[in-house]
């Protein structure tokens, strides 16, 4: 190794594009002209879009990723600071309502290359096999058009590519082990392990998280600085910005930053021919493309398809069934906070480092379908103060006092499966954004099953907190991880896309991001979204030119292409097994 591991003790360089302290690429990417017809336009380079861009470029397609936010230089743009990281989030206007309105913004989605994978906590559990057949097993929600077994090889592949650290044996769902070893525990993990152990609840320490426990090529291991949700300057936490986008660029993909897509354009009733977008100066452009993939997140994707309504598609693209925008889901994300007599200092270690999925599956004795997971979380001071406002009604001197005790508190998150309901949805509001594009309106209502699940989950986590020795326990209700709203299914009457992400009504228009999930389980969605993206890419690649020329739908499952994985995924770093 020619460079010291912690390269950033040197000055960051401004003549290159820094993606972490050691990974540097040349500034700029290939640039297509607007009128040059490319093979694929990908709208949004987030968790899904980043993987798609890499796969399609590596397979030799002409591909442009159009991203509303910036192409981050992690050394020059990012900071180790809570307030200073506000710019990582989607801060443009959305309207939120319903009986249980969701907080959006920083609680929710990203803007900029990497999307939500820039600020995710990086918990990376798989979904359970039961998640793919919720309707069959429980009579609620929906079944997926694919089974766990179809996605499993992609889980295994992405766990190597990004990669995921965790225990040698993960006991829940389809039991499996992780390529990188588990992380050391921070004090919040100790609380979870202690509480669960006292109560005889199985708990998993040190992962699964997409954070490096050993260095991996030009990415250093974690330094336990606790700023994961503010973007990992170290490059230890995976984001598609640093895992997939660099290789995409090497294979000739274009990253077009600060460009907001306003409308997908139809060539005729059956096929799209490109997208309209606004550049950073607010000028409108049209990029020609043979096919379009929308990967804009569970709010912006339906917003774009609804805003693209045109003659022949009066209610939005691929919305003949009226399903577009419906069945939006958020996971219950209640935070249970416990005060301990001893010091905790929860700002150290990644917020995500231990969990239990003991209550994930349906248990008829509980009186509701499906379940929840329990995970470590660790708010920094501002987020903690906001939680104390909600949890204790704190203000004034009470706020000052409880914050002086910040180092005595530990926090655990419930992550609960809220079912897909028709009335939870994304629509178009009357307001417009800075480009004049109508914004999204999000409606969210809790239903009976959801309420029972949340009450049970909060009670259980409170017991764990008490068992770990907390002397005071309070909670804040929250929601996390929006998915759904363009769900996949076999029946065009109640879904928007098929099992490969192709819209039911337009043969060269695809959706690939969290919005296609029919149900969400109690696992954080990021890994599943990336695995689905790799699978969609394999489908597109196996179909080749037919995507651009034919309206025929070939539903044959493509072979998995290990050769398209990020280079050296199987040889870099210190994997546990090869």
């Amino acid at each position: 190794m020619k460079e010291p591991l912690f390269g950033a003790f040197r000055q960051a360089r401004s003549d290159v594009h820094n993606l972490g302290p050691l990974q540097r690429i040349a500034k700029g990417t290939k640039q297509y002209r607007d009128d040059e017809e490319v093979d694929y336009v990908i709208v949004g380079l987030g968790s899904a879009g980043g993987v798609l861009l890499q796969r399609l470029a590596k397979a030799g397609f002409k591909v442009v990723g159009i991203e509303a936010g910036p192409f981050w230089d992690t050394e020059l743009d990012w900071v180790s600071d809570e307030k200073g990281s506000h710019k990582l989030y989607w801060n443009d206007l959305r309207i939120t309502g319903g009986t249980d309105p969701l907080s959006l913004g920083e609680n929710n989605s990203g803007k900029g290359v990497g999307g939500g994978s820039v600020h995710w906590a990086a918990f990376a559990p798989r979904f359970h096999p039961s998640d793919f057949r919720v309707y069959t097993e429980d009579g609620v929600g929906a079944d997926w058009p694919i089974s766990y077994d179809e996605l499993k090889p992609y889980y295994e592949l992405l766990e190597r590519e990004i990669p995921v650290a965790g225990p040698a044996y993960f006991p829940w769902g389809d039991p499996h082990g992780y390529p990188y070893g588990p992380h050391p525990l921070g004090a919040v993990g100790d609380v979870l392990v202690k509480g669960c152990t006292k109560l005889g609840i199985r708990v998993c320490a040190g992962g699964p998280v997409a954070i490096l426990s050993g260095s991996h090529g030009n990415r250093p291991h974690c330094i336990y600085r606790g700023f994961c949700i503010q973007g990992c300057k170290v490059g230890a936490k995976a984001s598609t910005l640093i895992t997939h986008v660099p290789e995409a660029i090497r294979y000739g993909a274009e990253v077009r930053e600060l460009s907001m897509v306003s409308r997908v354009s139809m060539r005729n009733r059956d096929r799209v021919n490109g997208v309209f977008y606004f550049d950073r100066e607010g000028r409108e452009h049209f990029q020609k493309a043979k096919a379009v993939i929308v990967s804009g997140y569970a709010i912006e994707t339906p917003r774009l398809l609804l805003n693209s309504a045109c003659p022949g598609h009066e209610h939005g693209l691929s919305n003949g069934s009226g399903t577009l925008g419906r069945y939006l889901m958020a996971q219950a994300g209640n935070v249970v906070l416990g005060r301990f007599a001893d010091l905790i200092r929860m700002y150290k270690a990644p917020p995500a480092h231990a969990l239990s999925e003991e209550f994930y599956e349906t248990d008829p004795r509980r009186g509701f379908a499906r379940g929840f997971a329990i995970q470590t979380v660790a708010p920094l001071p501002i987020a903690f103060a906001k939680q104390m406002m909600a949890a204790k009604g704190a203000w004034g001197w009470g706020m000052r006092r409880v914050l002086m005790d910040y180092n005595h508190w530990a926090t655990l998150g419930v992550l609960g499966e809220i079912l897909p309901w028709e009335d939870n949805r994304v629509e178009i509001a009357n307001e417009k954004d800075q480009f004049g594009i109508p914004v999204a309106k999000v409606t969210f209502n809790l239903h009976e099953n959801d309420k029972k699940m949340i009450a049970f989950g909060v009670k259980k986590v409170t017991e764990i907190m008490r068992a770990a020795g907390a002397e005071e326990v309070v909670q804040e209700s929250r929601y996390a991880h929006l998915v759904g709203a363009c769900r996949m299914g076999s029946d065009p009457r109640d879904s928007v896309v098929d099992k490969f992400g192709r819209t039911h009504e337009i043969a060269n228009l695809f959706v690939c991001d969290g919005s296609i999930l029919p149900t969400q389980g109690s696992a954080n969605p990021g890994l599943t979204i990336q695995a689905l993206a790799a699978r969609t890419a394999d489908y597109l690649i196996s179909q080749g030119e037919r995507i651009f020329t034919s309206d025929r739908r070939d539903m044959t499952t493509p072979p998995i292409r290990y050769s398209l994985a990020v280079e050296d995924s199987f040889t870099k770093g210190v994997p546990r097994f090869v």
Partner: protein
């Protein structure tokens, strides 16, 4: 006006006010800024500028300024800090509103943030008038707290027209969240609460049992009571928090 001493937190043993200091809290002489040479350059520049460059007032009018100042000094009181070590709050709220920096959403029962502040300040004034027939800025601190407490509690003592256009609970959350964002983003507040601050590229190495890093200091607790002239020392769940759960907008997992 209340005696200056009545504004101070009290030592419960002696019953005497605790003198103002440069740095309240249980971590005496702890200084995150003293570690800034170990921070990466981008972070160091941002934090140094935050301390040195306080934005000018451009959103609030000269008429509104005394009121928002009086309100925020009760929502986030700093009477225990020496005047030159108080953390600016109003300039940051003003900055956000002037620049129209929003959090990415608006509740359907709320106007936009600028309008919400203008209306909220009027509602506070109307409530002060209804309760004490005085301007908010003329009230004793305890009475100012009583006015604010009605809003914390979602009580709507006055300003019914305004509260019919805007949720009282959500206005309260907006105000509190803006105050804590300004205060707890300042390194002096980090010193007060013993938070480690930026740690790239150096790392944290003592992860368990609340142990301090070599540059951090251990806790030295003392007892204190909220000033007699205040109502905010006690914790009261907000009314309505059960049927309409309150959540902060911070992301966690």
């Amino acid at each position: 006006m209340a005696e200056d001493q009545e504004l101070l937190p009290v030592d419960p043993q002696s019953g005497k006010p605790i003198p103002r200091t440069k740095q309240p809290g249980y971590y005496p002489r702890y200084s995150t800024l003293s570690q800034k040479k170990f921070w990466d350059a981008t972070t160091r520049k941002l934090i140094e500028e935050r301390v040195a460059n306080i934005p000018p007032i451009r959103f609030f009018t000269q008429a509104e300024l005394p009121l928002i100042t009086a309100v925020t000094s009760r929502v986030l009181p700093q009477d225990d800090r020496l005047a030159e070590y108080r953390i600016p709050i109003v300039p940051w709220i003003d900055h956000r509103l002037f620049e129209n920096e929003i959090d990415g959403y608006r509740f359907e029962d709320m106007p936009d943030d600028r309008e919400a502040y203008r209306l909220g300040l009027q509602a506070i004034e109307q409530t002060a008038h209804a309760m004490y027939a005085k301007l908010f800025v003329e009230l004793e601190p305890l009475d100012q707290d009583a006015v604010l407490k009605t809003i914390h509690d979602g009580e709507k003592r006055a300003a019914h027209e305004i509260w019919s256009r805007m949720s009282v609970d959500r206005f309260w959350h907006l105000l509190v969240q803006d105050c804590v964002s300004a205060y707890y983003s300042h390194p002096w507040a980090w010193d007060e609460i013993g938070y480690g601050g930026p740690a790239y590229p150096r790392a944290y190495t003592r992860l368990e049992n609340g142990l301090p890093e070599p540059w951090e200091v251990d806790e030295q607790r003392y007892e204190w009571q909220a000033p007699a002239s205040s109502l905010s020392g006690a914790y009261d769940q907000q009314a309505g928090a059960t049927d309409k759960p309150v959540h902060g907008q911070g992301g966690t997992h």
